[in-house]
């Protein structure tokens, strides 16, 4: 199993107990009085049968607080998910923190920083890098939104197949126009699981496909990931408290549906809330307000005891791997880890969701390692206090470099960077003045030359291909 990082320090507190209760009560009030619009007949019937107040004309469902509380209590707080190989299994929940690959629509040229559609090879190579990176534990919905030559409808399904073929790490499975009914059959063919995605459209609306996907994934035995994205000041109130209430209502409503479909189903929620850029209307990626939002969200969901993920953390408005990219990605991600989020989207993305690159993912992996090291905290024991050793070494000319204690402990205590430029100035001059980005580019080549993911056997690969063909046929017919 992947250990990820275990947070040994207390989670960050940005809300008082009273404030957490207020957000929860306001969520219940919105769910009870305004409700959610659920554009899915099957879900409406299920909710109706379970004593929710359903208006079939407007598709509005109002949720009685006691049903909400019951459903929240049914979701497990900790669970395992099975990968294709045992060492990539994960256990989600509690104090464990994993990092997950985030998406970019297209790839980006590392010299001009202009974006373009990736080739199939570039898509597959990215996944080889994903498989190799030690601090990247799970794969998101996509590395890129498809590659050259794919019909629009097949971009997501072919991406799911590409992930299954090129990495043994657990993937999120998104959907498009009914694809979930086919792609949900892929992982069972490989003897493993994926995490199914269902998302809310803010404000307060679930559309048909998303709920259909929830039914399919849950009935296929997958854990379900319910996420909601909104722009504060656009599709959510502009205040952090108000956008916490709408986002919370959207997620809680989703959890209720999931737990009614199958009580006890493994559930994780995802926060994707940004402030609006009031000059352009776009989400304000990398904004500190998003970090404050996710910290508040984490606190509320800790109360519910349901595992959490965030997507706002790994996003930057920067178009290139520069200083802004570094701080916009690292600061919210550090806050997410401190706040006790279980799964943090981080690696790979640039320019909001517009672009991504495996070299950026390599840079990010170094930061993930640093953050992971921090949250594991300080080990204080008789051995680490090293009083006997200090007495033995004493003042100058004593030193600790030659001691066995140092050899045993330094690697555990320090995070050893793989990418950052930490060499001395004369060495830097001699080695061609390389930056962290240059080092990451070299690492990329090294990974592609040396890392070999565990591939599918011929039968497995054929099974995946057959499912893709069936789906392609379905789209041609429809």
């Amino acid at each position: 199993m992947q250990k990820g990082f275990i947070r040994k320090i207390k989670p960050l507190v940005v809300l008082s107990e009273e404030q957490v209760t207020l957000i929860h009560k306001s969520t219940l009030e919105v769910l009870k009085e305004t409700g959610l619009k659920i554009l899915n007949e099957r879900a409406l019937k299920l909710l109706d049968k379970n004593d929710c107040n359903v208006d079939y004309n407007s598709k509005i469902v109002r949720f009685p607080p006691e049903i909400v509380e019951e459903c929240l209590a049914k979701a497990p707080s900790n669970y395992k998910v099975k990968a294709r190989i045992e060492k990539h299994d994960v256990e989600i929940g509690g104090d464990r923190v994993y990092f997950r690959l985030f998406a970019g629509m297209e790839t980006v040229d590392l010299n001009t920083w202009e974006t373009r559609t990736p080739t199939r090879k570039e898509y597959y190579d990215y996944l080889t890098v994903v498989d190799a990176l030690p601090n990247l534990h799970m794969v998101g919905c996509y590395p890129y939104f498809g590659y050259k030559g794919l019909p629009e409808n097949m971009k997501i399904p072919e991406g799911i197949a590409a992930k299954a073929r090129n990495t043994t790490k657990i993937q999120l499975q998104c959907f498009t126009k009914g694809s979930h009914a086919y792609t949900a059959k892929m992982m069972p063919e490989l003897g493993c699981e994926a995490i199914g995605v269902s998302h809310c459209a803010a404000p307060l609306t679930y559309y048909r496909d998303s709920i259909d996907a929830m039914f399919t994934y849950i009935n296929s035995g997958f854990p379900i990931y319910i996420c909601s994205g909104s722009v504060a000041g656009g599709s959510a109130p502009s205040t952090i408290a108000g956008s916490s209430v709408t986002n919370n209502a959207e997620l809680v409503g989703g959890v209720v549906i999931a737990q009614l479909i199958k009580p006890g189903v493994r559930t994780m929620v995802g926060d994707f809330v940004f402030p609006a850029n009031m000059s352009t209307g776009a989400p304000l990626f990398g904004d500190i307000g998003a970090a404050l939002h996710l910290a508040a969200y984490s606190q509320v969901w800790k109360k519910y005891g349901i595992p959490t993920a965030v997507s706002v953390s790994g996003l930057t408005n920067s178009k290139l791997s520069d200083y802004q990219c570094g701080y916009e990605k690292a600061i919210p991600t550090m806050i997410a880890a401190l706040a006790g989020i279980n799964v943090i989207d981080f690696h790979g993305g640039l320019t909001g969701e517009l672009s991504a690159h495996p070299v950026q993912a390599i840079l990010d992996d170094d930061v993930a390692g640093m953050i992971g090291r921090f949250i594991e905290g300080v080990d204080v024991s008789e051995e680490t206090l090293a009083v006997d050793l200090i007495k033995e070494v004493g003042p100058i000319p004593g030193n600790f470099l030659t001691k066995e204690h140092t050899r045993k402990w330094w690697r555990k205590e320090q995070y050893t960077t793989r990418i950052a430029d930490r060499i001395t100035y004369p060495e830097w001059l001699k080695n061609g003045k390389k930056s962290a980005l240059d080092n990451a580019k070299e690492k990329y080549e090294e990974i592609l030359s040396n890392h070999k993911p565990v591939t599918l056997n011929r039968e497995q690969d054929k099974a995946i291909e057959n499912i893709l063909e069936e789906l392609n046929e379905f789209y041609k017919q429809s």
């Binding site: 459209a201 609306t205 009031m278 000059s279 209307g281 776009a282």
Partner: protein, 226 residues
Amino acid sequence: MEDNKSGRDLSEFQKDLLNDLKKSIKTYDRNMAARTVDKIIENKMDPMVAMNAMTETIRIIGEGFEKGEYFLPDLAGAADAMNGALPPLEKKIKENGRKVENQGKIVIGTVLGDIHDIGKTMVSTLLKAAGFTVFDIGIDIKAEVFVNALKEHDADILAMSALLTTTAPEMEKVISLIKEENLRDKIKIIIGGGAINQEFADKIGADGYDPTAPGAAKLAKKLIGK
């Protein structure tokens, strides 16, 4: 300028009313705008003078937005206040047998299969603030509904939105139907949304694309040549 010319003939009370109208737009006060316009009509002032005062105020706010002094909520607030005052004013202008001047008529909506509303609404608001008459026909809109709305409103521009890569191709279907109905030559088509880029816009034969809401309003002005 018509308002300046007419302005010289106004009484102090009438000037105060116009200043109140401008203030209502600047302070995003829809009720005040509506009340003031009612008084302007009661006092038998030229409705075109009031209309020009509002347009001028919106233009100043728009310029402030360009300079980074005003932001989207300001533009939306000003447009909302103006919309509160428009119906009685337009009615009066028509009663007087005159034509309401505007930048042009735009039908806007999110394509079939896509229920994302906010980007489209933001563009719609900014287009109104830029002086266009906007018919926002909503989300999840079929090609036939777009075409019917274009005909019904005798529109100059069609603006389509799609957030998803899977719904964006629907735009091409709408454009095909517009061609079938022989409307393509008289309508400019602009598109936007998360899934859209210039390459896609060129591919499907749209007249323009812009990644931002303020950019969409500028694009519409450029295309319509006013």
